[in-house]
């Protein structure tokens, strides 16, 4: 597969300053501010191929958005090599910008007081789309996102979910090859979150577009991405498939068991093998260390009449929680 993004030893620092709290702190900071250099991204390297769906995860302030901003050319890196579609992003060449989109979940790109259609017509001209192409793409996107009836309403009167749809349409009208999505489902209800996720997957399939996504909703990552980049304190701590993520960081597996009604599960007995997440008389959910798994299953088969047994890797939310809470 062709690599569309190459990042080697990327470093980006910010200069900020500390300010003591309270009135006296404000007075002091008026005369003297102690500068502080924060390394937001520290020596990161990775490559992404065309058509990949990559999830960029990490706690707040880990450096996810900073990396995305470097990749779209908004920030100048302090050092390291960056190549996106063969371009140096920070040079912001027109040919480069025409092929990427940056959906910022918390920022409106649309003219607030005007209907979304008006912004779309500006985008049509900025990206030099023909009228036929514009109409075709707009119809397709409106249909996929069920947005046609809101096209002519002023953006300020739209709900958060509708606005996010409008933003996504604005960013995809020109069929970008790479989609950088920063928290695309933030603040949306579950139905709308699902709609956006389905749409991103459909867009990736139709156009073989590369998607790089940051989100704090692990459901986004779980349902969209097949590869994970995990970042913490500006450092890349994992770069690999979603499937291998849990085996790298978590020693346990999730076990769901259901037994026959005539038997009764004993929580104390179960706790010998691992952590019991939930347990009633006939069903239990446990997190069991991989090394104890065989012994547990043998014990279960010997002592109970099993109706159902499901052993799986823990979900991504659990893994991320384990990784970052362990670090804290």
């Amino acid at each position: 597969m062709t690599e569309v993004i190459k990042v080697a030893n990327l470093v980006k620092t910010y200069t900020t300053y500390d300010k003591e709290s309270g009135f006296w702190g404000s007075i002091k900071s008026f005369f003297y501010r102690k500068k502080k250099i924060v390394e937001a991204v520290s020596d990161i390297s990775f490559e992404i191929s065309q058509g990949e769906l990559v999830g960029f995860i990490g706690p707040n302030g880990a450096g996810k958005t900073t990396t995305l901003k470097c990749l779209v050319g908004l920030l100048y890196p302090d050092s390291g090599q960056l190549s996106v579609l063969g371009f140096k992003p920070f040079e912001r060449k027109r040919e480069f910008l025409k092929q990427i989109a940056f959906v910022m979940g918390q920022k409106a790109q649309l003219y607030w007081d005007l209907p979304a259609f008006e912004t779309y017509s500006l985008i049509r001209d900025i990206y030099q789309l023909s009228e036929t192409e514009f109409k075709k793409n707009l119809d397709e996107l409106c249909q996929l996102l069920d947005f046609s009836e809101f096209l002519n309403r002023p953006v300020r009167t739209l709900s958060l979910g509708q606005r996010m749809k409008a933003e996504i349409i604005a960013n995809l009208l020109y069929k970008p090859k790479i989609l950088f999505l920063d928290e695309p489902t933030i603040g949306l209800d579950v139905v709308m979150q699902d709609a956006i996720r389905e749409f991103i997957l459909a867009y990736n399939k139709r156009n073989n577009a590369t998607v790089i996504l940051t989100s704090h909703y692990m459901e986004d990552i779980d349902s969209i991405c097949n590869r994970i980049l995990m970042i913490d304190n500006g450092k890349l701590i994992y770069n690999g498939s979603k499937v291998d993520l849990s085996s790298k960081f978590v020693t346990e597996k999730e076990v769901n068991v259901k037994i026959n009604l005539k038997d009764k599960l004993n929580k104390q007995l179960l706790e010998q093998f691992g952590r019991v997440v939930s347990c009633d008389q006939t069903t239990a959910k446990l997190m069991i260390n991989r090394s104890k798994l065989n012994g547990f299953i043998k014990w279960l088969v010997d002592n109970y009449s099993i109706l159902d047994l499901d052993i799986k890797e823990p979900d991504i939310k659990y893994v991320v929680k384990q990784v970052f809470s362990a670090k804290k």
Binding site: G73, L75, K98, I100, F102, S121, I126
Partner: protein, 264 residues
């Protein structure tokens, strides 16, 4: 060009989406005219001449300079500072088109609105208060007047742009903008003809670039400056334009490297 025109169209639509705001904005201008009229009428009640200006000349000055102020000082470029501080600038940086194409489109629409309504307001005012306005000058004076006006518009744009671009280094440009607004407008001749100031102050003000904005075109249109001196002053004005252009493009290049796209 198509992008530019569409951006202009969108700015017009934005202006028209707030009707009350729009009406009050114009009413404010009419009130300014009314206040000026009463102020100068009171001043000329007890004297016939102030400096080089009799009552009719000063009325001419305040009405025409009012119109020129609307043309020169109407500017939207200061919004860039807010865009930089809020991170909204990113929206424009992502577009494969120069940010300034969109900024200039907004700027021109703003000027067009101001000029159109200013003409109507001034004509209405002149008619209601029966003020006599005569403009009589040669073709060469007209050319040099237009050049002075263009230099003033460009100079104000680039001064304002430079101040807005301070947003790359500071979280709020409110204070520098406020101070510069007072200094620039005060020393531009927008409130009164600068030659009525005491001699020392007049010489200081004349050495600054701001008199080019209103006072110089007014001197030309009122035939209060000889042609050769006017040409020299316009030439100097274009040097100022170039200096502020160079400063703002330097700040833009440096600032982008400093831009942190906060707020995203």
């Amino acid at each position: 060009m198509k992008t530019f025109l569409t951006a202009c169209k969108l700015t017009v639509s934005e202006y028209l989406s707030y009707r009350t705001n729009f009406i009050l904005w114009r009413l404010r201008n009419f009130l300014y005219l009314f206040l000026y009229y009463n102020f100068w009428s009171a001043v000329y009640t007890y004297q016939k001449q102030i400096g080089n200006y009799n009552k009719q000349e000063i009325f001419f000055y305040f009405i025409v300079s009012f119109f020129l102020s609307d043309l020169v000082f109407s500017s939207k470029v200061f919004k860039l500072a807010a865009y930089i501080n809020s991170g909204l600038l990113s929206k424009y940086l992502i577009y494969p088109v120069s940010v300034f194409k969109l900024v200039v489109a907004e700027e021109l629409v703003d000027k067009a609105f101001n000029v159109i309504f200013s003409i109507v307001e001034v004509m209405l005012f002149v008619y209601l208060f029966k003020i006599q306005i005569f403009i009589e000058f040669s073709f060469y004076y007209l050319i040099i007047f237009l050049l002075a006006l263009i230099s003033g518009i460009l100079l104000y744009f680039f001064i304002n742009l430079s101040i807005s671009l301070l947003g790359f280094w500071t979280n709020s440009v409110w204070a520098p903008r406020f101070i510069s607004f007072i200094v620039i407008q005060g020393f531009s001749g927008a409130f009164f003809p600068l030659d009525i100031l005491p001699d020392f102050l007049y010489r200081v003000v004349n050495a600054l670039p701001f008199s080019v904005l209103i006072y110089l075109p007014m001197q030309i249109i009122q035939n209060k400056i000889n042609f050769d001196l006017a040409v020299t002053k316009v030439a100097i004005a274009f040097v100022w334009v170039f200096l502020f252009y160079a400063l703002s493009s330097f700040m833009w290049k440096k600032g982008l490297k400093n831009y942190s796209a906060y707020g995203l």
